[in-house]
Symmetry: C2
Subunit: 456 residues, 2 copies
C-alpha cells in the first residue's frame, strides 16, 4: 500500500454481556452486609454472570459473530484478528484459534494476530497492535478485528460483588468514525503483585485490594502527566481534563472511577502555578503541600477533590459508566464498555468532533492513557451514525436480561467453581436463558477438548 | 516522526540456553529404547534443561539483561518491550511486567507491549508487533525489544527427549542488518487440538503426535504457497526455494525440519508445469498424481523428496539446526535459535545480501512464513559484524555446559514436576552450575509471589 493511511480507528463495535444478572441490592441482603456497601460503596447496580455454559471462547465467539453479522463483514476482508483476555483456560492454545473456526470454513486463513495477555490491559494491547498493523508496511488494505473478553469471578467474600463478564469486538481500519490520536499514547509499566492469578487450578485471582488501588492511582498519575505532556507537544494550549470532552477509565468498580476523576483534578491542582491555584481550585489551597506519592489513601484529599470534581464527573465520566454499573467488571472489555456507554449517552450532534481520553489499566502492571477523536461526519447513514445506532441496539439488551436470586446465583457459582478443572464435563447451565446468537459450551471431552454450539 | 522508516528489522540478538544438558545417546540407553531413536529418529544430540532454579521470568530476564549489557543499551532509548511465551505461570500477570524491573528502577516506564501467546508462535507475533510499531504513527524514534522464552518439558515417555529450554532477546529498529521483507508475510491460522495445555495444574502439554505433524505440514504447505505468491508480486522471477539462500523452520525436533524442507520440494514439484517436472525433478514423475492433503504420512513421497532435497537441506537448512540439535525444542525461541545458528554457520562475506525465509509454527494453530534480507554492509565494525561476533560469543557457551547423567536429569525433572504448583517453595537446584549473569528463582512465598536474584 503506497498511500499513507489516515484516521485509523474503530469502524464498528459489538458488545456482549450475559443474559442474566444478580441485583447488587439483593446481594447486599444475601451477603448480610450493610445496606449500600455494594451499591453506594462500590457504585455497582447489577452484576452479569455466566453459568458453566459459557467460557472465554464462547463469549468471544458470540461478540465476534454478532459484529460480523451486523456489519455484513466479508471474512476475506479481514487481515488481522486478535484477542485480549486474562481468562486463561489453556496455557498454549490461544482464544484466537477458536475464533478462526468462523474464518477457516470460508477459507480465510491468512489472518495475523494471536492473544495478548496482561490482566485487564490485553484488549488495549490488541487494539494498539491492530492500529499499528494498519499503519505499517505489512498492511495490505484489509481490516483488523480486535476481540477482548473476560469472565471475572471471585470466591465468596468481599470481592465477589466486583465480578462481571463480557466481550467486545471492534472493527479497525482507516477513515474511521472513532480515530485514535497519534503520538500521544502514554504508558506506565512496572512490576507489582497487586492482582494476579498464580493458582492456575483456580478461576479466582489473588488480590491485595489496598495495593491494587494504590497501583491503579499511581499508574493513573503517571499516565496522565505524560499524556498531557505529549498532548502539549502538538497542542500547546492543551489543558488536560478541561480540554477533553470525556474521560473514560478501566472500571474495576464505579466508585474507583469517580475517585480517579477526582485524582486527575488533584494532579491538575498540583501542576497549576501556585499563584493560579486559588482561582482555579477555590478553597483547596490547604492541599498545596501534599504530594502524589503520599495521598493514595488520604481521605481529606480524596473528599475535597471528589467534591470539587462532582460536576466534571457528571459531565465527562459518569456517562461512560452505564455498562460498568449494570454488568460489573468485564476486565479487558471494561474500558470499551465505557466507550459504548459514553457514545450512547449523547445525541449524535453532541458527539461530532469531540475528543476524549481513555485510561486502560491491567494489574501486574500495564497501563496506558490515549485519546480518541470523533469524526465530524454525522450525516444520515454515516459510519458514526451506523456505529451509534448499532450500539443502542446492543445496550437495549440490558433490560431484557433475567434477574437471578442471589441464592441461585451462588449455586451457579458453586457449580462453576467445583467443576472448573473437571474433564470430561457436560455443563448443566440453561441454554434457554441465553440470548439468541449466543455460543455455548456443549462439552469438554476426556482430552479436555471443548466443543461449542450457537443458539439460533 | 515524519520521515518514513526503512529497513526495519533485527539490530542485535542475544540467546540464552541452560548451562546443563543431558546427552541424547545416554538418554536412549537410560530410557532403554533402540539405539538411534532420539539421535537419528528425532535428529537430536543434546537437550538443555533447567532445574527448579529457573522459570520463565528468570530465563527471559537473563536473555534481556545480557542483550542490554552487551549492546550498551540506554533503557530510555527503548519504547516497546514485549514477550512471547507459552510457559504460563500466571494467568493474568505478564512476564513483561517482571522484565520491567530492569527498566522501572531507571525510571523508564513509558514502554508499550505485553505478552503474546499461542504455543511456539508467540515470539514471532511479538516480533511482528514490534516491527509494526516502528513503522506506525506511534513510533517515537525509540527502539523495541522482543523477548521469547520457554521451558519445554514433557512427562516420562516418548515425548520427553523432545524437550528443551531457552530464551532469545532481540533489539528491533530501523536501518537494521537483518531486515524483514515487506508485504510478504504469509499466515495460516486455524483451530486444532494438536498440542495444547489445558491441564493448568501441570507443566506438561497434551500432544496428539500424529495430528501435530499433520497440522505442521499442512500449515507449511499453506504458508509456503501463499508466501511464494506474495513474493512473485514484487519479484516475478521468484522461484521459491531456489531463490532463497536459507530456509529456517520452527524445530520441534530436527528430523521434522528435514522432512519439512523435503515437503517444500514436493510443493515445488506439484506447482511445476507438468512438461518441466521431469527436467527439474528427475525420476519423480511417478508422484505427479499425489496431492498435498493425502501425503502427510506418505512414506514413499517423503523418502523420495528427502533424497531429492538432501543437497538443498545441507546448504539451506541444516546450518540453521545447530542450536536446535544441541539444546532441544525451545518453543518460542526455537526459530530464532535457528536464525542464530544460520548466521554463525557462514563467513561474513557469505552472508552479505543473502535472503532467507523463516517458518514459524505454533500449535492450535498459528503459523507464518516471512523472509529476511541481510544488509550488504559487512565493513569492519558494521552492525552486522557486531551482531555476528556477539552470536559466536554466545554459542561458544554450548561447549561450556555441564553434562548431566540421565538418572540425575530424571531426578531433577521429578523435583520440578512434584513442586510445580507448590507454595510457599524454596528451590533446591544448584546455583553453582549456572552461567555468570543468570537470573534464578530465590523463593516463592505463601502468596505465590516470586523473587529472583542474579548470579554475578
Amino acid at each position: 500500500m503506497g498511500a499513507k493511511v489516515e484516521n485509523v480507528g474503530i469502524l464498528a463495535m459489538e458488545l456482549y454481556f450475559p443474559s442474566q444478572y444478580v441485583d447488587q441490592i439483593e446481594l447486599e441482603k444475601f451477603d448480610e452486609v450493610s445496606t449500600g456497601k455494594y451499591t453506594i460503596g462500590l457504585g455497582q447496580s447489577k452484576m452479569g454472570f455466566c453459568s458453566d455454559r459459557e467460557d472465554i471462547n464462547s463469549i468471544c465467539l458470540t461478540a465476534l459473530h454478532r459484529l460480523i453479522e451486523k456489519n455484513n463483514i466479508n471474512l476475506h476482508d479481514i487481515g488481522r484478528l486478535e484477542v485480549g483476555t486474562e481468562t486463561i483456560i489453556d496455557k498454549s492454545k490461544s482464544v484466537k484459534t477458536f475464533l478462526m473456526t468462523l474464518f477457516a470454513k470460508e477459507g480465510a486463513t491468512d489472518i495475523e494476530g494471536i492473544d495478548s495477555t496482561n490482566a485487564c490491559y490485553g484488549g488495549t494491547a490488541a487494539l494498539f497492535n491492530a492500529v499499528n498493523w494498519v499503519e505499517s508496511s505489512s498492511w495490505d488494505g484489509r481490516k483488523a478485528i480486535v476481540v477482548a473478553g473476560d469472565i471475572a469471578v471471585y470466591g465468596k467474600g468481599p470481592a465477589r460483588p466486583t465480578g462481571g463478564a463480557g466481550a467486545v469486538a471492534m472493527l479497525i481500519g482507516p477513515d474511521a468514525p472513532l480515530v485514535l490520536d497519534r503520538g500521544v499514547r502514554a504508558s506506565y509499566m512496572t512490576h507489582a503483585y497487586d492482582f494476579y492469578k498464580p493458582d492456575l487450578a483456580s478461576e479466582f485471582p489473588y488480590v491485595d485490594g489496598k495495593l491494587s488501588i494504590q497501583c491503579y492511582l499511581n499508574a493513573l498519575d503517571n499516565c496522565y502527566n505524560l499524556f498531557c505532556k505529549k498532548m502539549r507537544k502538538t497542542d500547546p494550549s492543551f489543558k488536560g481534563l478541561l480540554s477533553l470532552d470525556g474521560m473514560l477509565f478501566h472500571s474495576p468498580y464505579c466508585k474507583l472511577v469517580q475517585k480517579s476523576l477526582a485524582r486527575l483534578c488533584f494532579n491538575d491542582f498540583l501542576n497549576a502555578a501556585p499563584e493560579e491555584r486559588e482561582a482555579q481550585f477555590p478553597g483547596l489551597s490547604q492541599f498545596s503541600e501534599r504530594c502524589l506519592q503520599d495521598t493514595y489513601f488520604d481521605r481529606e484529599v480524596e473528599k475535597a477533590f471528589m467534591t470539587y470534581s462532582q460536576e466534571l464527573f457528571e459531565e465527562k465520566t459518569k456517562p461512560g459508566l452505564h455498562i460498568a454499573r449494570n454488568v460489573g467488571n468485564m476486565y479487558t472489555p471494561s474500558l470499551y464498555g465505557g466507550l459504548v456507554s459514553y457514545l450512547i449517552s449523547k445525541s449524535p450532534d453532541q458527539l461530532i468532533g469531540k475528543k476524549f481520553a481513555l485510561f486502560s489499566y491491567g494489574s501486574g502492571l500495564a497501563s496506558t492513557m490515549y485519546s480518541i477523536n470523533i469524526c465530524s461526519d454525522m450525516s444520515a447513514g454515516s459510519k458514526l451514525e451506523k456505529l451509534i445506532n448499532s450500539l443502542h441496539d446492543t445496550v437495549s439488551l440490558l433490560d431484557k436480561r433475567e434477574a437471578v436470586e442471589p441464592v441461585k446465583f451462588s449455586d451457579i457459582m458453586d457449580i462453576r467453581t467445583m467443576n472448573y478443572h473437571t474433564a470430561p464435563y457436560e455443563p448443566s447451565g440453561s441454554i434457554d436463558i441465553l440470548f439468541p446468537g449466543t455460543y455455548y459450551l456443549v462439552k469438554i471431552d476426556e482430552l479436555r477438548r471443548r466443543t461449542y454450539d450457537r443458539k439460533l
